[in-house]
Chain length 324, copies 2
């Protein structure tokens, strides 16, 4: 029987969101809860509660499965969490823990990957065979979608786009290396640049939006200033878009994708980032590859849960494909 | 009938090499000739002569096809030359020109791609499903081999590894952009660094090898000095290996390959480049991806013709697969 729904979960450092999602991507029921502090078992309890809450109204046989997006490095083939900064999940067999308490198939994946799957199935990348998803937020995430599916690599760990060189011996990156993209375009970089600007006359608008308190300057404040036309904030966000674009040129030259989707809180809220990145790619990608389109992600706030549901549908459909 | 041979051609800016190659990669007969100056027709004539010379001893039905590697951007799906620096072939339908004069199927590809196919079928990457080939020479070339085949991308232009950012607003690259890998690790960079060193006391050994004439310093001289233990030359080549490694970290994080094969005249002749690149990757790639092996290409001087023959075998076998 063809299942009609999947449950998608977006597990973040502060919040767990869950949704019952139809095959066409429409959200039927949603739930949000704070992420429990402490060990993994509290997180699993909260996941189970959320699944029960959103799926109570439909028969279990109508549900294709449960997809869970995590802010973690996932070994997709073994379905294990390799590394996780914000949650105590490293080395934890999340999938088995959840699966032992529900009647459905469970699949876990990195949240950049679920975002890519969501955009592919329901969003800005519908129909695209070869595209790259890049999410800008607290870090840089994403996924590489090649030949009609998410590319997994040798050990299921492919898809990290933020840990790529943009400057030899450059700024320190959270991963321990130097000069990686993430150190230049994610939330902490925007805050750093915003504060530096606010210490000078040019950053007056940014400072004012932060109530004259430099410690209150957030990425959102810098973006608000840019979106309302402040020159200095536009310069900061424009430079970030330029660096993103220069970095994406390398991916365009290597993978020749037809489309780049920019998502995440930062990527979606500041048009100049995408405009500038797109302009740099049009100018500097090698001949024949410049027709790549650079667009904003489509799923917005729902990207996490809808993407995780897409993961569950994909896994369900490939299992059924194999059994045919 | 299963064909036993393919003809592989390596067309370079100065030389055309051709070989009749067995299915297992052994070269049966070889020919080399200078690349004719002038337009594409002279090049085509020389290709036809070379094909006839190396294949004269076998029956046409035993030949799977002709593969041609070119130092050019190739739109693989349309089989056209998009861009070519060293030969007047841009926009030329090389494949049709050759095919109209021989009895065999003809396939053209970028020479970095044929190198990757050769290593995959006959060399250091035999059996590897996901690997990256990078060739260091006058430029940086290569190919990305994913899921058991060369990845082609949206328009058949995938595989350029040299035109990826290593330094924001950095050195000018032959492609017109700034700060790309090719500007830091290919032949001109080695010559530049070698000359700069030879102007100081530290570069005395390099200067001596060049007969005290700075204009005669070549990449080969710097590499000879490094391989014979000269500190300054080792520093230059070690730094190049370090930059290559830092750049490859990004590819390892994004594609999670099992293997990286380093080839090309520079890559194959200077062990410290591979050693240093490998050390940087082991240290700085993200968790779980550090088991990637970094090895020297295996096919050496034969890489061009044997790789082009691998291309012809692959195309032949996939055609036959489709007709089954």
């Amino acid at each position: 029987m063809r299942t009609s729904y999947a449950v998608g979960l977006d597990v973040g450092g502060t919040r767990i969101a869950a949704a019952l999602v139809e095959r066409k991507g429409r959200i039927v029921k949603e739930s949000k809860t704070l992420t429990p502090k402490g060990g993994p078992f509290g997180v699993v309890d909260a996941i189970i509660d959320a699944v029960e809450e959103v799926s109570a109204s439909v028969h279990p046989s109508e549900i294709a499965g449960i997809g869970i997006g995590l802010p973690a490095q996932i070994d997709f083939f073994r379905q294990t969490v390799e590394f996780c900064t914000n949650l105590p999940l490293a080395g934890v067999d999340m999938r088995s823990l959840v699966m032992s308490r529900v009647k459905h198939a469970v699949t876990i994946d990195n949240d950049g990957h679920t975002a890519a799957l969501g955009e592919s199935r329901f969003g800005a990348a519908k129909g695209a065979k070869d595209f790259v998803m890049v999410t800008l937020g607290t870090g840089v995430g994403g996924g590489v979608f090649l030949g009609g599916q998410l590319f997994r690599g040798h050990r299921g760990l492919a898809g990290e786009l933020g840990h790529t060189l943009v400057e030899i011996d450059g700024l320190e990156c959270p991963c321990g290396a130097r000069g990686h993209l993430e150190a230049y375009v994610a939330r902490p970089a925007i805050i750093r640049e915003g504060r530096a600007a606010a210490e000078t006359f040019k950053g007056a608008a940014i400072k004012r939006l932060a109530g004259d308190d430099l410690d209150r300057i957030s990425a959102e404040i810098v973006i608000d200033a840019a979106n309302s036309g402040d020159d200095e904030a536009l310069r900061i966000m424009g430079e970030i878009g330029g660096i993103l674009g220069q970095s994406l040129v390398g991916i365009v030259n290597m993978l020749n994708p037809q489309l780049i989707v920019v998502g995440g809180g930062i990527g979606e809220s500041c048009p100049i980032v995408i405009e500038r990145a797109s302009a740099v790619i049009s100018e500097h990608a090698l001949a024949g590859r410049r027709d790549v389109r650079v667009v904003r992600a489509d799923l917005g706030n729902d990207a996490g849960v809808v993407g995780a549901a897409a993961l569950a549908f994909d896994e369900n459909d490939s299992r059924e494909g194999m059994h045919r």
